[in-house]
Symmetry: C2
Subunit: 428 residues, 2 copies
């Protein structure tokens, strides 16, 4: 028989935790119809900050400073973890699962850092560990991968998974802002944190593409081998040149299943400006899923925020309640998969190289690239002729390691002032 009152404990009342409370309150009637005849009871909320502003005064009665109290309370059925960061969140999740509680979280760092261990633990204890909100929170991609795309081997995922960097790149691209200006605006509007490193440097997208790859490819992979690179070096000028060449610059998270290994990486990329993903602007996220004859399936939606994340967390809670007495294992990560060494991956490249403007320069540079087996699709001299000039190269598909070696050699040429930019091209 179905338990009628499902007791929930919430760990952490930051933005997302408050979003969860708001969704639960505002959609109470709808949710209760959805989980009929069950009802949700918020039994305890843990937060260190006792002065927290709660719009419902009743919550103060159930507020505790001790997270421990929630994960050990025998009456609590589902723990919602919205503390964020690796510890203490991870230990609390582990403790809750061991106590036989279901856990819902949006915590990508915990999943990236200890996901397999936690999933094993959940399986052993026959409890759910759900985390739809952890990746592109407004897009139900994990549900799609685990409920609806289960009959076809997926070959590729290409995502714009970080809203902060997408906002910055969109501002640079559409309004001609430079990087610092766009970052400042993102911070003012709340799209970037005061310390934006995790977003800007690709770490956030790196955690997310790891999670998507594991779920989509049913794979056991080693997070440490995934390459990531952020957008600090992207300039307004390169965005303009890219546009002239028919491309838009995006921070892409890529995962390809070659059959032999997985090619997973995060880096800025030039993508064709007519592609759906190129047109996903602002703080939105977009995900393309591809599989053999199946065609392309693209999702776009909000990537972050209290309400999208809160909605997905509560949807996970609803999913658990609907399946309450019917535990089944949602995620199979059965295949141990090697991640391709980054130097062995292939991409065409956009390069901007500043040279002394005199005869023979192009021949010298081209010679070095040819030696390293990198060939050019197009070469355009940019800017006014003068003492120095910028040359923009688009290369054919080339091995990452070879391009790096070539660039190292090229910087040593007397005629070369500097490598201004080197951005990979992804022909989606």
């Amino acid at each position: 028989m179905k338990k009628e009152i499902i007791n929930i404990g919430i760990l952490g009342l930051g933005t997302v935790g408050q979003g969860v409370l708001k969704i639960l309150r505002e959609n109470k009637e709808f949710i209760e119809q959805e989980i009929f005849p069950c009802k949700i009871n918020i039994k305890k909320i843990a937060d260190k900050n006792k002065k927290i502003a709660l719009d419902n005064k009743n919550y103060y009665k159930i507020l505790t400073e001790s997270a421990e109290e929630i994960v050990t309370d025998p009456e609590i059925d589902i723990v919602v973890e919205t503390i964020g960061g690796f510890e203490p969140a991870k230990s609390l999740i582990v403790q809750a699962l061991k106590q036989g509680k279901h856990v819902v979280t949006a915590n990508k760092e915990v999943i990236a850092g200890a996901g397999y261990e936690i999933l094993d633990l959940a399986r052993e204890n026959k409890v759910y560990f759900l985390f739809e909100a952890s990746v592109a929170s407004g897009i139900p991609i994990i549900g799609a991968l685990s409920h609806s795309l289960t009959s076809y081997k997926l070959t590729e995922i290409i995502g714009i998974l970080n809203g902060t960097t997408n906002y910055i790149l969109t501002k640079m691209s559409e309004e001609g802002k430079d990087y610092e200006e766009a970052l400042k605006e993102a911070q003012e509007k709340g799209y970037a944190e005061a310390d934006p490193g995790k977003d800007i440097d690709g770490f956030d997208a790196f955690n997310k593409i790891f999670i998507l790859s594991a779920i989509a490819f049913r794979a056991k992979i080693d997070l440490g081998n995934i390459y990531y690179e952020g957008i600090r070096n992207i300039t307004k000028l390169d965005i303009e040149y890219a546009r002239e060449l028919g491309y838009t610059v995006k921070l892409l998270a890529l995962a390809r299943n070659t059959g032999l290994d997985l090619d997973i990486r995060v880096h800025p990329a030039l993508i064709p400006k007519k592609h759906t993903l190129a047109n996903i602007g602002g703080a939105h996220n977009g995900i393309l899923v591809r599989g053999g004859d199946f065609g392309d399936l693209t999702f776009s939606g909000l990537g972050a925020g209290a309400l999208p994340a809160g909605s997905m967390i509560v949807s996970d809670v609803v999913e658990i309640i609907k399946n309450y007495d019917n535990y089944y294992n949602q995620y199979n990560c059965f295949e141990k998969k090697k991640i391709r060494d980054f130097s062995q991956t292939n991409s065409p490249y956009y390069l901007r190289i500043r040279v002394k403007d005199r005869p023979g320069v192009l021949a010298e540079i081209a010679g070095v690239f040819a030696w390293k087996k990198v060939s050019f699709l197009s070469v355009i001299q940019k800017g006014e002729a003068g003492e120095v000039a910028d040359i923009v190269f688009l290369t054919h598909q080339a091995k990452e390691g070879n391009v790096r070696e070539a660039l190292e050699e090229v910087t040593r040429l007397e005629c070369v002032e500097k490598i201004c930019s080197a951005i990979r091209v992804v022909e989606i």
Copy 2:
């Protein structure tokens, strides 16, 4: 204990049925890992056509002419219905459910025509009735609505749900083809049937938006009250004028939950050409789901075809097997909802009216519209001045009934030759 061999019976081996077989065969290993420790056994396939071309000779041994044999076979656990059309498919589905078999189908006509009755029957018998492939087959929208968007009241769905008409409109728009030419090309390429009426006249999209509305709004609605209109009257010229005004013409399926009632309809519409949906071209489908503060969530993917449909059907089979001993009711259509009378809905309008080119015409026409409370946003005279001229009007939001009355009055004016076009505008 979980049943180890799950016996499947397939009804009908048309395009989709063959797609199901292909997916099951080509992805056998992947699917078996997914449903471990279960295995799928295709026990019987029913098709009247004994000469059907099956790539696996073993299937001939299990081929039967009698669909009855499958729905009554006590050993068959899951029936896949891929006959299409209302009868005999509906009766076979009912029979299978009554026998305690789970049913998976892509048959939108059966669901549109008898969905509530069938869902009730499935619930009574505690068996699954799943139909992900019935709407926008390559897009897992039903899974998203029933598994992942369950905590938030959705307010709006806007879909491009018919690939045939989208292909035709895209060809007209991008290559300047006229309607007949584009339709012929769609037929040659297999995107349109020899008798394309169901697609062209909006009937297909009408069935699909009914299904999405019922699932998304958890609503009991009366199919018969949904207005639908196709694309036969769309001309190349209007597509050109629309583009000049910043719009693209699409066959839209719309469903809005006003709280009081549902505004559901299918008709061609001008939508802003920069919107994601406007850029979903060819035979692709696109669906936008909107809900309060949650933001917009957009899906795009293949709308039809043996493999997308086959994949989704097999994914439904996998979902049933994963939940085999744990029946739970997936769809709650608990709210009886009224559909707003079409004449009471509101849209801005694009109108092209052919008039005698002489002074005072505009005043006469404007007078009629003003009388019917329809006001103009812009008025542009098109074409060379001569005996007659076309005037293009964009109206403000106006009541459907009022626009119709105004148009009737306007055709009676002596100065008006004819109403060339009247297309609604949807500012997404």
